[in-house]
C-alpha cells in the first residue's frame, strides 16, 4: 500500500522541540509525518483534526507537553479531552478513533517522538489507508445567479415596507443587518455586494420575516441560495467550532465511509430493515455526534435519541435503525453547499430504499423539515412519509396507544423550533403531547407559535454577540413565565440555550437560568420508562473520558465489544463485516 500520511500538530515548546531534537540527534524515524507547529496543543481544535481526515490524512497526531509542563497551564489537558472526544467521533464515522493519537513529548525526548512516529506509522499501515482518500470530494455545481434566486424567492414583489426588518431578532440588535436593505440591494442588482456582505451570514433563516411578509418574499430561502456563490468566493459564516460539524457532514457525503453508528442503541428493540410497509425507521441524524461535540455545554443530545427509542419501544414499535445512516444535510444546505446536501440526500434515500423504509420518524425539527420538504425537492422518486416524534406521539396519545401515567407536577414553557413551527407549521402536536401529561401545565411565553423567537443560531453560522443577546432575552422570556422547565423539540435549541447558560451571563443568573429539556425526555419521565443498561452507560463513558486519559482509553477498549454487537446482530447490510473488524482494531489501539 501507499505510505501512510500523518499530520502532526505539535506544540511550540515541547513536542516541536522534541521533534527538532530528534532531528539534530540524527534519530531515524519514518518520513510519513508532516509537522504543523502550533503555540500550544490546546490550540488544536477538533475541526483541525477532522479537516485533516477530510482531506485524506491517514492519521493525526497531537503532540504536547507532559502534564503540568504546559506553558499555558492547562492547554495540553484540554487538548487531551478534545482528542478523546474526536476519537469517539471518528469511531462513529467508521474511520476509527485509533487513527488519532495524542502524545506528550518533552523537548529532550527526541527518542520518544521518533518511536511514536514509527509505531503510529506501522499501526496505520496495518489499518490501511483512510477510506476517504480515494473518494472524490463532492464537486460544486454552478451557483444560481441573482435573477433566478429573486424569481424563486419573490423578492421581486417586495414593496420595501420594512415589516421583515422590524420583525427580525437580528436587526433589532445589529443595525447593519437589514433584510429590507438586502432585498433592495437585490432589486438594484448589487449581487456582489450581497454575496460578500456580512448580512448574508447574520440571517438566522428563522423565517420570522417570511411569516409576516405581506408579499410572501421568502427571505430565508433567498439568503440560503445567495450563500452558494459566497461559498465559491471562499467566504463563510465563521462557523461554530471552526466548522468541525461541516467536516464530518462533508465526509458523510462522500464514498468510502462505512459507519457503525448504532452502538448506543444496544438493549433497545430495533431492527435493521423494514419488513412491512408500516414499519417505522428512526432517523437519528447527528444526535450522537452533537452529544460529543457539544458535551461541554451540557447538552445531552444522545439522550434525545435514547429517549426517543424508549418511547417508540413503549408504543410497541421496534424501529429500523441504519448503521450507515448519513447526516440529513440540513446544515450544509443552509451553509451554501447544496451539492453536498444533495449527495447526502441521495445516499440516505438509497439506504432507505435498500432497507425497505417507507415511514420515518425524527427527533429533530431540522431533520424532519429536511427529509419532509427538501428531500422531495431534489429526489425524483421520493415516497417516504416523514414524521416528527411530537406528531407521532400526539397521534398515539389520541388513539390511546400512549398514555402518560406519572404526574410530573411541572409548570413548563415550550420553545417552538423554527423548523417545526414556521417551516412545518406544526405548533399543535408538541402542545398536545404536553397537554396529555398529567400534572404538566403549559404556560406560553410572550412570543410563541408563529411569533416564537429563534434560539439564536442556525446551521452553526454566526454564533456571536447577537446570538447571545437573542438567547438571553429568550431565556428571560421563558423564565418570566414562572415555568420550571423550558421544553424544546429540537436538539439545536437545546444546544444553543444550554451553551448560552454554560458560560458567564450578562444578566442576573436568576433572571435567565432555567432547566432545558427535550420533549422526549419529559415524555420518558411521564411514561415512567427506564432506559436499558448499555445505552445508559454509553454517554457516561464519554463524559468520563475527561479526567485521566489512560483510564478513559481503557474504558473505550472495554466498550468495544458492545459496539461491535450491532454489527453482529445486524447481519443485514453489506457494510457490517468490515466495520466489525475495525472495531476490534479500535480496541487494540485503546489498550496500547
Amino acid at each position: 500500500m501507499a505510505e501512510p500520511e500523518i499530520v502532526a500538530f505539535v506544540c511550540n515548546w515541547c513536542a516541536y522541540a522534541g521533534a527538532d531534537y530528534a532531528g539534530v540527534s540524527r534519530i531515524q524515524y519514518p518520513a510519513n509525518v508532516r509537522l504543523i507547529r502550533v503555540m500550544c496543543s490546546g490550540r488544536v481544535e477538533p475541526s483541525f483534526m477532522l479537516k485533516a481526515f477530510e482531506d485524506g490524512a491517514d492519521g493525526v497526531l497531537v503532540g504536547g507537553c507532559h502534564e503540568a509542563d504546559c506553558h499555558y497551564m492547562s492547554g495540553n489537558v484540554k487538548a487531551r479531552a478534545r482528542v478523546e472526544e474526536t476519537r469517539s467521533l471518528l469511531d462513529l464515522l467508521g474511520l476509527g478513533g485509533e487513527r488519532l493519537r495524542i502524545k506528550w513529548v518533552n523537548a529532550n525526548e527526541g527518542e520518544v517522538f521518533a518511536s511514536e512516529i514509527a509505531d503510529f506509522t506501522s499501526a496505520l499501515k496495518s489499518l490501511g489507508p483512510n477510506p476517504l482518500k480515494a473518494a472524490k470530494p463532492v464537486t460544486r455545481g454552478k451557483p444560481p445567479v441573482l435573477a433566478e434566486i429573486m424569481a424563486r424567492t419573490n423578492t421581486n414583489l417586495c414593496v420595501e415596507c420594512g415589516k421583515c426588518t422590524a420583525s427580525c431578532p437580528v436587526s433589532r440588535r445589529l443595525a447593519s443587518f437589514s433584510p429590507r436593505m438586502t432585498v433592495e440591494m437585490s432589486l438594484e442588482k448589487m449581487a456582489s455586494e450581497i454575496e460578500t456582505g456580512p448580512q448574508l451570514w447574520e440571517c438566522l433563516t428563522c423565517r420570522t420575516c417570511e411569516e409576516r411578509c405581506p408579499y410572501n418574499v421568502r427571505f430565508s430561502d433567498f439568503i440560503r441560495e445567495a450563500r452558494v456563490e459566497a461559498q465559491d468566493l471562499g467566504l463563510d459564516g465563521c462557523p461554530t467550532q471552526s466548522g468541525q460539524m461541516y467536516s464530518w457532514m462533508r465526509m458523510m457525503a462522500r464514498d468510502g465511509l462505512s459507519q457503525q453508528r448504532t452502538g448506543w442503541a444496544d438493549g433497545f428493540k430495533t431492527k435493521a430493515r423494514a419488513t412491512s410497509k408500516n414499519d417505522i425507521m428512526f432517523f437519528v441524524g447527528c444526535l450522537p455526534h452533537f452529544g460529543l461535540s457539544h458535551r461541554h455545554v451540557g447538552a445531552d443530545t444522545l439522550g434525545i435519541a435514547t429517549n426517543t427509542l424508549a418511547i417508540l419501544n413503549a408504543m410497541g414499535i421496534a424501529p429500523v435503525l441504519l448503521a450507515d445512516e448519513r447526516c440529513c444535510g440540513h446544515d450544509l444546505l443552509f451553509a451554501g453547499e447544496p451539492e453536498a446536501f444533495e449527495a447526502l440526500a441521495r445516499r440516505n434515500a438509497e439506504a432507505f430504499k435498500k432497507a425497505g423504509v417507507k415511514r420515518i420518524v425524527t427527533a429533530c425539527a431540522e431533520g424532519y423539515q429536511t427529509l419532509a420538504v427538501e428531500y422531495p425537492r431534489v429526489l425524483e422518486d421520493w415516497d417516504v412519509e416523514v414524521m416528527h416524534i411530537s406528531g407521532l406521539m400526539a397521534q398515539a396519545v389520541e388513539t390511546g396507544n400512549l398514555t402518560f401515567e406519572n404526574d410530573l407536577g411541572l409548570k413548563v414553557t415550550y420553545q417552538d423550533p423554527c423548523r417545526l413551527g414556521r417551516y412545518m407549521d406544526e405548533y399543535e402536536a408538541p402542545r398536545a403531547v404536553l397537554g396529555a401529561m398529567p400534572g404538566v401545565e403549559l404556560v406560553e411565553m410572550e412570543h410563541h407559535g408563529p411569533d416564537a423567537v429563534c434560539c439564536g443560531v442556525s446551521s452553526w453560522i454566526s454564533c456571536g454577540a447577537t446570538a447571545k443577546s437573542i438567547q438571553m432575552s429568550r431565556l428571560a422570556e421563558a423564565k418570566a413565565t414562572g415555568a420550571d422547565v423550558l421544553v424544546t423539540a429540537c436538539p439545536k435549541c437545546q444546544i444553543h440555550f444550554s451553551c448560552a447558560l454554560s458560560g458567564r451571563v450578562p444578566l442576573e443568573r436568576s433572571e435567565v437560568e432555567i432547566p432545558i429539556e427535550d420533549l422526549t425526555s419529559l415524555a420518558v419521565k411521564a411514561l415512567g420508562l427506564s432506559l436499558p443498561e448499555p445505552a445508559a452507560k454509553k454517554p457516561s463513558r464519554a463524559s468520563k473520558a475527561k479526567p485521566p486519559a489512560k483510564a478513559a482509553r481503557k474504558k473505550s477498549a472495554g466498550k468495544a465489544p458492545s459496539k461491535a454487537s450491532p454489527g453482529r446482530k445486524g447481519k443485514k447490510p453489506a457494510k457490517t463485516p468490515a466495520a466489525g473488524s475495525k472495531k476490534k482494531t479500535g480496541a487494540k489501539s485503546g489498550s496500547k
Binding site: C161, K163, C164, A166, S167, C168, C209, R212, P214
Partner: protein, 449 residues
C-alpha cells in the same frame, strides 16, 4: 311580469338605490339582514373628506327610505331562494322572528330597561365595548326604531325560565314570544345586491397582538369609541384603564395588501379614514400625538391629497412610512411598543404609544357565498361579487336582471357606494322597462331627495 325591484342590503348603497327607484315610481322591496337599516355608515362617527357627521347625513335618508310609499323594508330578513329570470323573479325571503310586533312597538326602550339581562350581554353594535340586554334597540338612530329580542340569549326563549318583566313594561303589548320565523314570497322584476362589507378580523395577525393586548383595537372599534352616541359618549378611552390615550399609532394595511391573509388588494379607503381618525383625536384633544404607519399613501380622489396634507399640517399627524413588524406590551402600564423599520430615516426603532388602532381590510361580507349560490351569480377571486364587465358594466352581474353595487363588489368609500347605488337603480329600472314593465316615471313630484 313584476314592476318591483328587490334591493338586498339596507346600507347607504341600498338605500340610495331604493330611493332612486321609489322616486321613479317603481315598487321596492328592501331586505336587510340586521334589525336596522343603515349598514356600516350608520356606525361611523365622521366621514372623509368633509368630516361630516356620518349619521347626521345618513339618518334622513334612512328614514325617508323606510317611510317611502314605494319602498317596503323587511328587516331581520335574508333571501333564501331565487327563481325565474329578468322581469319575473320569484324570491323567497326568510324573515326571522323579532319577538316584537313592529307595528305596535314605539321604540320607547321600556322593555330594554326591564330585561333581566340588561347590561349583561356584550353589545356587538358597539363592537363589544358597551353592553345591552336580551331585549334591545341596536343603536340610537336605528330604523325602524323597534326593539328586538335576542332569541339566542333571552332566558325565556332559550330556557323557558324568566319572569319576563319586559311583558309588563311594554305598555303596547308589542312583545310576542310566540312569533316564529316566516318565509315571505316576493315577485320582482329585477334585483339589486348591495350587501356591503365586513371588516377583517385582525386576530390571526398575531404579531400585532389584537385580542391579546387590551389597548390594541381596530378601526371599527375606534369609530364607536369616538362616536358621541357610542358607548363612551365620544371619549376615546383605553380598554386597560379607561384613560385617554395621548399617543395613538394607526397601522395601515392590516390584512390588506397581504397575500397571506388572502386579501392582496388595497382597500382604497384606509389611508383616508386613518387620517380622519387621527384628525378627530386631535380635534378632541390637541395634545394628542398621532402616528400613522403606512405602506403607501393612496389618497387618490379629488381633495384627498389635500386632506392628507391638512392632516399633517393642521392636525400635526406624523406619517411614517413603515409597516411595523410587531407590537409588544409593557406588562405594567399596558402601553404598547410599536417596532418598525423606519424606511425613510433608517433603522429599527420602537415607539411607545398608549393605543394602537389597526386599519383592517374590507372583506366580503359573511354569507356572500351562500347568497351568490342562491342568486346564481359569480364571485371574483376574493369572493366579492363579480361584474360581467369591470370596465363597461360594473354594476351588471353575470345574470341578466341582477345588479350589484357598493362594497360587495370591491372595497369603496361612501361616495362610490352611493354612486353605484344610483347606477344600479337605473340599470334595474331599465331591465324592467325592457321586459315590458312600467316605464320609469319622470323625476319630479315623487322626488324626495
Amino acid at each position: 311580469m313584476s314592476d318591483s325591484v328587490l334591493v338586498i342590503g339596507g346600507g347607504v348603497c341600498g338605500i340610495q338605490a331604493a330611493l332612486d327607484l321609489g322616486d321613479k315610481g317603481l315598487k321596492v322591496k328592501m331586505v336587510e339582514r340586521e334589525p336596522s337599516i343603515g349598514g356600516r355608515m350608520a356606525l361611523l362617527d365622521k366621514v372623509f373628506p368633509t368630516n361630516d357627521c356620518s349619521i347626521c347625513i345618513l339618518a334622513p335618508k334612512m328614514i325617508t327610505c323606510f317611510n317611502h310609499p314605494n319602498v317596503e323594508v323587511l328587516t331581520c330578513a335574508e333571501v333564501v331562494g331565487v327563481k325565474g329570470k329578468a322581469g319575473d323573479f320569484k324570491v323567497k325571503v326568510r324573515k326571522k322572528a323579532r319577538y316584537v310586533d313592529e307595528d305596535k312597538c314605539t321604540g320607547c326602550d321600556a322593555c330594554t330597561q326591564a330585561c333581566v339581562l340588561a347590561g349583561r350581554i356584550p353589545d356587538e353594535w358597539n363592537q363589544n365595548f358597551g353592553t345591552r340586554g336580551a331585549s334591545y334597540i341596536p343603536f340610537m338612530q336605528a330604523v325602524p326604531r323597534v326593539a328586538i329580542i335576542d332569541g339566542e340569549k333571552c332566558l325565556r326563549l332559550t330556557k323557558g325560565k324568566c319572569k319576563s318583566p319586559c311583558l309588563e313594561a311594554c305598555l303596547r303589548n308589542a312583545i310576542d314570544f310566540e312569533q316564529e320565523d316566516e318565509v315571505v314570497d316576493l315577485e320582482v322584476g329585477s334585483i339589486i345586491v348591495a350587501t356591503g362589507l365586513d371588516m377583517y378580523d385582525p386576530t390571526p395577525v398575531t404579531e400585532y397582538g389584537y385580542g391579546r393586548f387590551a389597548n390594541v383595537i381596530h378601526s371599527m372599534e375606534y369609530e364607536r369609541l369616538i362616536n358621541a352616541s357610542g358607548p363612551t359618549g365620544g371619549h376615546i378611552t383605553r380598554r386597560s384603564d379607561g384613560e385617554r390615550p395621548k399617543r395613538i399609532a394607526y397601522i395601515q394595511c392590516v390584512g390588506a395588501r397581504d397575500v397571506r391573509s388572502g386579501h392582496p388588494y388595497c382597500c382604497s379607503v384606509c389611508c383616508m379614514y386613518a387620517t380622519k381618525d387621527a384628525m378627530l383625536a386631535y380635534m378632541h384633544h390637541d395634545d394628542t400625538e398621532n402616528y400613522i404607519f403606512y405602506t403607501d399613501l393612496r389618497a387618490f380622489g379629488r381633495g384627498f391629497d389635500e386632506y392628507i396634507k391638512r392632516g399633517a399640517d393642521e392636525y400635526k399627524i406624523n406619517y411614517i412610512r413603515a409597516r411595523p413588524g410587531e407590537i409588544t406590551e409593557d406588562p405594567v402600564t399596558k402601553n404598547l411598543f410599536v417596532w418598525y423599520d423606519d424606511t425613510e430615516g433608517g433603522g429599527v426603532k420602537s415607539m411607545e404609544v398608549d393605543m394602537v388602532v389597526l386599519s383592517t381590510a374590507f372583506v366580503p361580507p359573511r354569507g356572500i357565498e351562500e347568497l351568490a349560490a342562491v342568486l346564481g351569480v359569480e364571485l371574483d377571486e376574493y369572493d366579492f361579487f363579480k361584474a360581467s364587465d369591470d370596465l363597461l358594466a360594473p354594476m351588471d352581474s353575470c345574470v341578466p336582471g341582477i345588479y350589484i353595487a357598493g362594497a360587495c363588489t370591491r372595497p369603496m368609500d361612501v361616495t362610490d357606494a352611493v354612486t353605484q347605488g344610483g347606477g344600479a337603480a337605473d340599470r334595474a329600472a331599465q331591465a324592467i322597462a325592457q321586459c315590458g314593465g312600467k316605464p320609469p316615471a319622470k323625476a319630479g313630484a315623487g322626488d324626495r331627495r
